[in-house]
């Protein structure tokens, strides 16, 4: 029997139990921090030699040069050509749909002539440009996902990023042909088979062989996350992602097998993943629980699924769907399924979620692969203040200000008054020179 927590908003201790269910802070392991700090400064100082040494040690590769750690464009194209035809079609269809969605996100530059009578001839605006060079971290081994390559690389390409450098560790030397094929499909410029903190350091500081990038994106283990936090400022980084989560709000009229499998689909990621069902119908909750019991033995990853469900999962009974939406906003889930009749009507009640999957036919897994929106989403409640990965993350803005001689007389007086008030006389005089000119 799966020992998944049962909560009800009717219980006196509901809020406390919900808070404890959601409490998750990534442990900051001191030994990881020390190891990472040492690797970063070593790669910064010694470049390629240090990267090669760590790759030999941690990935068990017997290589002597960085050239052996770069995958050629020929190899990438060969991986793409070698795909089974249904895989290639699926990958291309997914890439096309993801590109189509993200193209709607590009910010455009704008400017305007100031229309206030006090500032004649003043032009204000913002110029939008792409980041020059981006590093894409792709995990190696069991969590090496071609879909992650698409979801990280396509928005960068749509933004107009000049050069995409991918790193992917290959412990024991085994290349993942799907990952390489995805890299070929999205036009990654260079691929190095390095990983861990040493790969993050190589991208952040540059080495003799690895070009220095301006921003590093992509998921990784605790060492990669710690390294990204530490190089933040030298380069940009994306969010440091926590475990995956799904919240399903169901009215009790979806096939219980579907909901059970949707909950499994997050739980199979890893033991820390969180799957929660909210429903006003207690009998239906039991039907989903029964479906989980029935389906679990059929799942190849059933041990991971069970651990995740028992440790972090929950079935929550609520009074009604309004209350369900309140709790969803409290959770601010990464993925929210509205498995409801007239599901679209409920979207307006959701303030905080990474992505909303609307209606019974919209399984979360469609969004993971091919619906179009990004699958890199805010976790651990950070949808309260952050957003899905997008083209925005690969563009940047520069403010534009042009003040005419006439305008500088008006604005200069305002600026000087405020600057003197702040005790910054050089600011004031710099403005006053223009006033008096």
């Amino acid at each position: 029997m799966i020992r998944i927590k049962r909560l009800s908003t009717a219980d006196a201790d509901f809020t406390a139990r919900l808070n404890s269910l959601l409490a998750f802070e990534a442990a900051q392991d001191e030994s990881v921090e020390r190891t990472v700090a040492a690797i970063l400064s070593d790669v910064k100082a010694r470049g390629d030699a240090a990267v090669i040494e760590y790759t030999r040690r941690f990935d068990g590769l017997s290589v002597d040069s960085m050239a052996e750690l770069e995958v050629s464009q020929n190899e990438l194209q060969a991986a793409l050509a070698g795909l089974l035809s249904d895989q290639r079609q699926a990958l291309e269809a997914a890439a096309g749909r993801v590109r189509n969605y993200h193209q709607r996100q590009t910010l455009q530059s704008w400017h305007y002539e100031d229309d206030g009578e006090d500032a004649c001839g003043t032009m204000l605006g913002q110029k939008v440009t792409a980041i020059d060079r981006v590093g894409l971290y792709v995990p190696g081994g069991k969590a090496s996902y071609p879909s992650s390559v698409l979801m990280n690389a396509i928005p960068a390409r749509v933004a107009g990023v000049g050069e995409l450098i991918m790193v992917v560790p290959t412990p024991a030397g085994e290349h993942n042909p799907l990952v390489l094929a995805a890299a070929a499909l999205v036009g990654v410029d260079r691929v190095f088979t390095i990983g861990g903190a040493q790969a993050v350091a190589a991208l952040a500081y540059g080495t003799q062989s690895v070009p220095q990038v301006d921003k590093i994106v992509g998921p990784g283990n605790a060492y990669v996350a710690a390294a990204k936090r530490r190089v933040f400022g030298v380069v940009g980084i994306d969010m440091v992602a926590g475990p995956s989560e799904i919240l399903v709000i169901c009215d009790g009229h979806t096939d219980p097998d579907w909901v059970a499998m949707d909950l499994f689909s997050q739980a199979e990621h890893d033991e820390l993943a969180q799957s929660i069902l909210i429903c006003p119908d207690s009998a239906y909750i039991e039907r989903v629980a029964a479906a989980m019991e029935k389906l679990l033995p059929t799942m190849p990853r059933r041990q991971v699924i069970r651990a995740a469900l028992e440790d972090r999962g929950a079935l929550i009974e609520v009074r009604d769907l309004d209350e369900a939406c309140c709790i969803a906003n409290r959770i601010a889930p990464e993925h929210l399924e509205l498995s409801l009749l007239d599901a679209e009507d409920w979207v307006a009640k959701i303030q905080h979620a990474g992505a909303i999957f609307i209606g019974r036919y919209t399984s979360e897994s469609l969004g993971d692969y091919c619906a179009g929106p990004n699958h890199v989403l805010p976790t651990s409640g950070s949808a309260r203040f952050s957003s899905p990965l997008g083209v925005y993350d690969f563009q940047k803005r520069t403010s534009l200000i042009r003040v005419s001689q006439a305008g500088s007389r008006v604005l200069g007086r305002i600026a000087a008054t405020l600057a003197y008030g702040e005790g910054l006389p050089a600011h004031a005089r710099s403005a006053e020179y223009r006033v008096d000119s």
Copy 2:
């Protein structure tokens, strides 16, 4: 004599000297880190009691309750009413212009029906919402700036943030009436006179009196910066800002006094600020140097200005203005003045800068106070990958996906193929249920 560095691109060691001029990494002081970690966990555990204790200790206030550390709306309004009329007019004019500019930044929600024949009835989109509650850190003492209140609070208000909580330390108990007036003008909801890591902790975790926020913005000292880095993830934060910088590109035809004063206006911020002039005319560079000698004795903050110019400033001679733009892109300055004839024509050559001040009449100080764009800008070369503070920082996006029954048959097959390829069978089966329905 001001010992400011002189560089020329004609020198063999130019690149090395430029790199060493720009090298700046904020020291991560271990004792600061330990102190901050202790304060954060203490405030998290004990709430108000801990905040009061640290405020007594660090700010020298003899208070016994949080109520004594909150500024009432009456006090805020009194501060606004008590302003000199020219200051009030200047503050209102600045606020109006900043609001007008930022209103053009708001992102709108959008959605579209998928037009691909493979996905009939699929709706994709993104819903844009404001962050619920934002904390605004305002430094106390000498660097307590009303303009910072405007620049941080107005984009939040324009984004539609529900509640703005401001913290500002008052060492020795002295309130800054300009800061309080600015808070009143932009409609800050609550103000607490607390600061340091204890204020960041109170905002991030909430206490009995201080409401927990979703994001913390605003500048602060090393303790505040370290605390913000540590609570990142629990709440959102803005960038951790480095010292201020100005780069002036001049064609040699601006009054040298103007350029000298523009360089001073950054240098007066603090000893680590960076002021650089790039010019193709060596005789003009000497005229600016002479103007600096002449003007420095007239500056109240001349010791700070001198230290900044001698330690981090430079006068750089280049072959031509194209080369000047190349170097500007290498530097990616926070503030870039194009003090040039037909300055607008050169904007296209600039890829990386926080803000560009176009033409001789556009002194950087106009942008600090009242031109309209934000004065919170990326420092230390981070304009390569990040952007001015804006409405964007107070909005967030939620992806919307609605797949019809017909669409789920098409998309489900694609998703299932890719999910099996990644070894995630629950993802595949969740999609297949819909295909087979």
